[in-house]
């Protein structure tokens, strides 16, 4: 394998790894549940996507012919990540998990406050 291909694969892998780490860092570090929801749904999914692109290039270069097998995992993750985030968020909304005080428009508190503008 030539050096340019190796550098490209390494870039995709490292970028994916850093995004996965940032997503998990957001999960560990932010204050309330709804803010934590943002890290895993976006950063981690993109991180795995980057690693899968790296692996597609790797296996297409080392084995005979193209290898799109791995793309299925990325496709599946990109379809299911918003759905699972939605349903976990809905469960949290149902149980009325404690929010940060500075969150605006908390749906189960002041109903009348800001809803007239969007009606």
């Amino acid at each position: 394998m030539n050096i340019y291909l190796e550098v490209t694969i390494s870039l995709f892998l490292l970028l994916g790894g850093v995004f996965a780490l940032i997503g998990s860092l957001g999960l560990a570090r932010l204050q309330d549940f709804f803010m934590r929801l943002h890290g895993p749904t976006k950063a981690t999914t993109l991180g795995v996507g980057g690693m899968i692109i790296g692996s597609i290039i790797f296996f297409s270069a080392t084995e005979a012919g193209l290898s799109f097998h791995e793309l299925l995992i990325a496709l599946f993750l990109f379809i299911t990540a918003p759905v699972s985030a939605h349903i976990v968020g809905k469960a949290a909304l149902h149980r009325q998990i404690a929010c940060e005080e500075r969150t605006r428009n908390i749906p189960w508190q002041r109903q009348s406050d800001n809803s007239d503008s969007t009606s």
């Binding site: 394998m1 190796e6 694969i9 390494s10 892998l13 490292l14 994916g16 790894g17 850093v18 996965a20 780490l21 997503g23 998990s24 860092l25 999960l27 560990a28 549940f33 934590r36 929801l37 890290g39 895993p40 981690t44 999914t45 991180g47 795995v48 690693m51 899968i52 790296g54 692996s55 790797f58 296996f59 080392t62 084995e63 290898s67 097998h69 791995e70 299925l72 995992i73 599946f76 993750l77 299911t80 990540a81 759905v83 699972s84 349903i87 976990v88 968020g89 809905k90 469960a91 949290a92 149902h94 149980r95 009325q96 998990i97 404690a98």
Partner: protein, 89 residues
């Protein structure tokens, strides 16, 4: 060089998994724990893909695909239990 990069990325993903386990242990509420579990599934998929590249075998992709499906179903089932199991309204 590529083998070293793969090992470094595996280390980064393992670090992410440790952070998830921490949130799984301390998580103040049940949805937090479900979310941590879901993130652990996704990170495990990444680890398995990297391991397949390390060993140069395509066999591990079936495993990664299975974990993706099972993780999604598990997350949905747990959240559904929270939604239906307790009655507030």
């Amino acid at each position: 060089m590529l083998q070293n990069v793969i090992q470094l990325t595996m280390f980064i993903v393992a670090l992410a998994l440790v952070l998830n386990v921490w949130r799984l242990c301390i998580g103040p509420s049940l949805p937090d724990r479900i979310l941590a579990l879901d993130t652990m599934y996704i990170n495990t998929i990444a680890l398995l893909v990297l391991f397949g590249m390390h060993e140069q075998k395509t066999l591990y992709f079936e495993g990664a695909l299975l974990i993706a499906v099972m993780g999604f179903v598990g997350t949905v089932a747990l959240s559904k239990y929270l939604l239906r199991g307790d009655i507030i309204e």
